[in-house]
């Protein structure tokens, strides 16, 4: 409980953390959940030296509430960064640091309550300036020395004021005596004037004695007013000096300068000689003492807390050394981070050898990387880190991390399987949705990358195949389409319109292939004219087919006479030379009696000559 309270107190030192409370924390990056709550309305309570600035720590959730914000102290990026910086820093065991610690110890001994006196206080006061000269002190001893000097000055002023008040009292009393004297003279004069009532001379309204008495009474009243003012000033001055010193003590405590806080507490007791004097605090600071600690805010409480913190830091460091030797790095690192959080400026923390801190650093870095990997959903990296951490720290609890990794992997694999099935079914939208979900769960999933590459690669190939198909179709290059038919069949599977065109192309190509096969068969039997006729008929239907045209050329040279006869017949037929054309058809038929072209030409022209036949 005490340590938790200390944590709360220490985090309250905004100077230390240099953290803006209103600045939103990125939960994903630091693993910290920040809940912003509405700020309290402006307090109507009177302003006090120490009050609303204190954070409140909830030990159940390790969450600190401060200024309407809540955050987990153990996951603070600032703390992590500072802790890693400390773990990387060399131990402060140089002569200067040792000398500084020696000076601090001397001051504390001089201020020990056992032999407290003004002389030892003064010696300690002098040593404060020597300690302030060291870099490690950061000028804190100067602040303490200044506070002491201010207190002394205040006391001196109070003494001076007391003397002045005494003088004023004497003067007032003198004036009062004079007033009494003139009052007595006036009384006597009044009695005499009563005996001489018969005299005709008139008596003045205000006698000289009365006037003098009034004057001295006014003087005395003025002195009294001055005395009252000086007395009030003295009391305010005393209160101010105490409050300033108390503020310094609390500030040192909040800054985790426990040695300085202890010094200040001892000095305060001697300077103000008030024993367990109450610390003038209000608001949450007061609640912190009364509610959380169950003690009133006194100098003794502060001193006790500071001493306890110092002891706790020593124990934390010892625990770290013990646990790290037993390779229980999780607990060891936690103990060291707690000790560091509380006693960052304590000599036990500062003098811990760097080599011994490196273990915690390595573990801490790996742990932070694991948190980062999990927060960015890099589960492959997270799995690797879990293995490393398990090997490094016997007490590392990998259950949650492993569960997160395994769950993400399973769900991601499920979505990928769905995406794969959808791709096979040609459901593009479903593929996109499933890939999106898989990527959201495990963005760096290698299987996701592989599947995406395959699918998008297929998509690219498909797009290219479609473009090629369109181009070849526009060129009438059925031969190329037929040669790549497998590629086009796959690419156009989801495109019904092009699929119909492809079907027609393939049917035509089959006709061409059949004609070619037939021609080749004729050619094999030595029937060049028959081979030519076979390819010629197909070429009339598919004039752009390269292979057909090539075969036409080959066979026409082999059956040149027949082809020439037929060509001449066709030419003359188109010229209206029916008789001559028929003669050439007959000639062609004589060359190749099985010629379909010749037979058809003869029949056609015969019908023309004999219309009613």
């Amino acid at each position: 409980m005490r340590r938790i309270v200390l944590c709360g107190l220490l985090l309250g030192g905004s100077v230390l953390w240099a953290q803006k409370p209103d600045e939103p924390m990125t939960g994903a990056a630091s693993g910290t959940t920040v809940i912003t709550t509405p700020r309290k309305p402006p307090s109507t309570e009177p302003s006090v030296p120490l009050g609303e600035e204190l954070p409140v720590f909830d030990p159940g959730s390790e969450v600190v509430s401060w200024g309407g914000k809540h955050w987990n102290i153990m996951n603070q990026r600032v703390f992590q960064a500072r802790f890693e910086k400390y773990l990387n820093a060399p131990e402060q065991t140089d002569a200067e640091s040792m000398e500084y610690q020696k000076t601090i110890r001397t001051i504390l001994e001089l201020l020990s309550p056992r032999d407290a006196n003004n002389q030892r206080l003064y010696q300690a006061y002098v040593l404060l300036f020597r300690a302030a000269a060291f870099d490690a002190d950061g000028g804190v001893c100067n602040a303490v020395a200044n506070a002491v000097a201010t207190a002394w000055q205040a006391q001196l002023n109070q003494n001076q004021l007391a003397l002045t008040v005494e003088e004023l009292k004497k003067a007032m009393q003198a004036e009062q005596s004079k007033a009494l004297m003139f009052a007595g003279a006036q009384e006597q004069a009044s009695k005499q004037s009563t005996g001489k009532k018969s005299s005709s001379s008139p008596t003045p309204v205000v006698s000289q004695n009365e006037m003098r008495q009034g004057f001295y009474l006014k003087e005395a009243a003025a002195f009294q007013a001055q005395i009252a003012a000086l007395t009030a000033k003295r009391e305010v001055s005393a209160l101010q000096a105490r409050v300033q010193f108390q503020a310094l003590m609390v500030q040192l405590f909040l800054q985790r300068r426990f040695q300085h806080a202890v010094m200040a507490c001892h000095m305060y007791r001697q300077l103000f000689n008030e024993g367990d004097s109450a610390i003038k605090v209000e608001g949450q600071t007061k609640e912190f003492f009364t509610k959380d600690l169950g003690m009133p805010p006194t100098v003794s409480t502060l001193l006790s807390l500071a001493s306890e913190a110092m002891r706790d830091v020593r124990e934390g460091v010892n625990a770290y050394l013990f646990l790290s030797e037993r390779h229980e790095m999780d607990s060891a690192t936690k103990r060291l981070s707690e000790a560091f959080l509380v006693g960052e400026y304590m000599p036990e923390i500062r003098t811990l050898p760097r080599e011994k801190k490196r273990l915690a650093l390595t573990y801490s870095q790996k742990l932070n990387r694991l948190v980062s990997a999990l927060s960015v959903k890099d589960y492959e990296q997270a799995e690797q880190l879990i293995k490393e951490l398990e090997a490094m720290a016997k007490d590392f609890d990998s259950t949650k991390a492993r569960a997160a990794v395994e769950t993400a992997k399973t769900v991601s694999a499920l979505h990928l399987a769905k995406a794969r099935n959808a791709a096979i079914a040609g459901k593009t939208q479903t593929v996109e949705e499933e890939l999106k979900q898989a990527a959201a769960i495990w963005p760096r999933n290698p299987a996701l990358l592989e599947l995406s590459t395959t699918l998008f690669g297929q998509s690219d190939l498909q797009q290219k195949a479609i473009a090629d198909f369109d181009q070849l179709l526009s060129q009438g290059n059925l031969r190329q389409i037929f040669n790549d038919k497998l590629r086009f069949i796959a690419a156009l599977a989801t495109d019904p319109e092009r699929q119909a065109k492809l079907k027609k192309v393939l049917e035509d190509a089959q006709l061409i292939e059949a004609a070619i096969a037939r021609a080749q068969e004729f050619a094999r039997r030595g029937d060049a004219a028959g081979a030519w006729e076979a390819v010629e008929r197909a070429a009339q239907q598919f004039p752009d087919d390269v292979k057909l045209n090539q075969l036409r050329g080959n066979y026409s040279s082999e059956a040149a006479s027949f082809v020439e006869s037929l060509r001449t017949a066709q030419r003359l037929e188109t010229q209206g030379q029916t008789g001559s054309s028929l003669a050439w058809y007959l000639k062609a038929q004589r060359h190749y009696p099985l010629s379909d072209f010749a037979r058809e030409g003869i029949e056609r022209l015969a019908k023309k000559i004999l219309p009613s036949s």
């Binding site: 003359l572 209206g576 030379q577 029916t578 008789g579 001559s580 028929l582 003669a583 050439w584 007959l586 000639k587 004589r590 003869i602 022209l605 015969a606 019908k607 000559i609 004999l610 219309p611 009613s612 036949s613």
Partner: protein
């Protein structure tokens, strides 16, 4: 002593006379046949010209001598269409001739040789005006 010349006629003379007589008979026969050929005044069809451009011969009448190669068709109104082979063997050409209805009484069979009097009609169609066996 002088030998007496032979009075027996030489056999060669008989042979020569026989040949002359035969030639005279043949010549006479040819002359007679020539004199009796009704198409003797007609020009033979220039087949090559016809094959190149039959229309150029339109309106002319020619004589064609050839054998029936094949029947190409028949029409009760237009007549019969035959392919006749002019020339000999595979080097000969085949020409289509239209035998009109008026010549239906003439039997035309494959392989028979005829001499045709043909007229070149529009489109280079050869219509037989008359014919006779060779």
């Amino acid at each position: 002593m002088a030998r007496r010349a032979s009075t027996k006629p030489h056999a060669a003379w008989f042979l020569a006379v026989a040949l002359l007589a035969t030639a005279a008979i043949a010549g006479g026969y040819l002359l007679m046949s020539k004199i009796n050929d009704p198409y003797r005044t007609l020009h033979s069809l220039d087949v090559l010209t016809y094959l190149e451009n039959g229309n150029s011969l339109r309106g002319n009448t020619y004589r064609i001598s050839g054998a029936i190669w094949d029947s190409l068709g028949w029409s009760p109104s237009a007549g019969r269409l035959f392919a006749i082979e002019v020339g000999t063997g595979r080097s000969g050409d085949l020409l289509p001739v239209l035998v009109p209805v008026s010549l239906n009484h003439v039997n035309l069979q494959k392989g028979q040789r005829f001499v045709f009097e043909v007229e070149v009609l529009e489109g280079g169609i050869l219509r037989v005006k008359s014919l006779r066996k060779e």
